[in-house]
């Protein structure tokens, strides 16, 4: 794992955007039998999720979130120095979706725009990139993270069809010379690259006879083993790096992978339910948007009224993982909108 600490970065606001179409578990009756739905629900914890309309993309959700965020913060569009789009469901193969968003948001020519193709760990990697950009002089950066994973799931695969939901997010980061140090710990294990895949859509030829090349394939038990073997250690290492105890952390904002995994991690680290919020029941696994969605949907009052020490951790497809610890963060705005 690689560790680093950065001075002068703070979060100012977060907005998440959900599609309007809310899907309950009974939507799957008929495709799966009752026991399967019950067993999967018990394991994953997902009761409802939101699914994007056929013409709606992750960038549409992120655009709506970013537009609202800039309004709420009163940030002039020309004050944004960079926009990073983190997603595995981009609009097109080219150009980078961040460039499309740059145009739609009316950002200035000096503003950098680029994509990052990560999923569950992507939000933390994005925050780390933001901090690196600020260390070299940028002052205001938008991190847009979102996915429409529902488009990639095989409707007949019980392990993924009920698990994923769609969401987009926008987070505003700003340089603040007085902000406490923030800490990052990031890593990768490419040997597990085949545990979570969508083979089609790239340039590596796939079997033309394969009907499932554009579907998401997940080796659930291997991903689970990776997660419980990696994430508790990652969190402990990040706390150690920051000379912080787990009791000093107000909020562990973990990627909402699966309720069983989250409870297992919470038990291993002896975290209280107050420290470890879980909202996968309402939104499903929303990939790169799950951490900001946890902040906006579950902890608005806490993070907008009280200086909050939060540890974020993202983990999954890659295999890739990252944790970030921010001390005394108090946001000016946090909200969820539907589009």
């Amino acid at each position: 794992m690689s560790q680093c600490s950065v001075k002068g970065i703070t979060l100012r606001g977060v907005v998440c955007a959900l599609p309007q179409h809310r899907v309950e578990n009974d939507y799957f009756t008929g495709r799966f039998d009752e026991k399967t739905i019950k067993d999967v629900t018990e394991l994953t914890g997902v009761s409802t999720r939101y699914m994007a309309a056929p013409e709606q993309t992750a960038s549409d959700l992120c655009f709506a979130a970013a537009d609202r965020l800039l309004e709420d913060l009163n940030w002039p569009r020309e004050s944004v120095d960079a926009v990073i789009f983190v997603s595995q469901t981009p609009d097109q193969r080219m150009p980078a979706t961040a460039c499309i968003l740059h145009g739609r948001l009316g950002l200035a020519p000096h503003c950098q725009a680029f994509d990052v193709g990560l999923g569950c760990s992507g939000y933390v990697y994005g925050a780390w990139l933001v901090s690196a950009l600020m260390a070299i002089g940028l002052r205001r950066v938008l991190l847009l993270a979102g996915d429409t994973s529902s488009r990639m799931v095989d409707p007949n695969d019980r392990s993924t069809a009920l698990l994923f939901g769609d969401a987009g997010s926008a987070t505003a980061f700003e340089y603040d010379a007085n902000a406490p140090l923030c800490y990052f710990d990031l890593g990768t294990d490419g040997k597990g690259a085949n545990f979570l895949t969508v083979a089609g859509g790239g340039f590596r030829p796939v079997d033309p006879q394969a009907t499932d090349a554009n579907y998401l394939h997940m080796d659930g038990s291997s991903v689970f083993g990776f997660t419980i073997g990696t994430v508790p250690k990652l969190i402990k290492a990040t706390l150690e790096q920051a000379s912080t105890t787990k009791d000093q952390v107000d909020l562990f904002a973990l990627h909402q992978a699966n309720r069983f995994i989250l409870r297992h991690i919470g038990k291993k680290l002896s975290l209280t339910p107050e420290q470890l919020p879980i909202n996968i029941d309402q939104f499903g696994n929303t990939s790169s948007a799950s951490i900001p969605l946890l902040l906006c949907a579950d902890r608005v009052e806490q993070i907008t009224t009280t200086p909050t020490t939060m540890l974020m951790a993202g983990f999954g497809v890659g295999l890739s993982w990252g944790a970030a610890l921010f001390k005394d963060v108090q946001l000016q705005c946090a909200s969820v909108i539907t589009v």
Binding site: V40, S159, S221, S222, F224, G225, I228, H264
Partner: protein, 74 residues
């Protein structure tokens, strides 16, 4: 080992008395969800992470125990 057997009985939805090293997994819902739950159970009871792909190949409780360094058969 008692906690492990109790946990396994819960996962496989059978009475705990039935769980012995020779208990056949293949006849009792040894599916991907049971495997995931078993990975968690072994981590909890023995602090050891077993590979899901190894676990899925097990046909009896004794096979699972062989994957856990600190668990002795029986």
């Amino acid at each position: 080992m008692q906690n492990f057997y109790a946990g396994l009985a819960e996962i496989l939805e059978v009475p705990v008395e039935q769980i012995t090293p020779s208990f056949s997994l293949s006849e009792h819902n040894w599916d991907s969800m049971a495997v995931i739950s078993c990975v968690a159970l072994i981590d909890e009871e023995f602090g050891h992470i077993v590979s899901g792909s190894e676990l899925v190949k097990c046909t009896s409780v004794a096979d699972i125990q062989k994957l856990i360094p600190t668990a002795t058969a029986g």
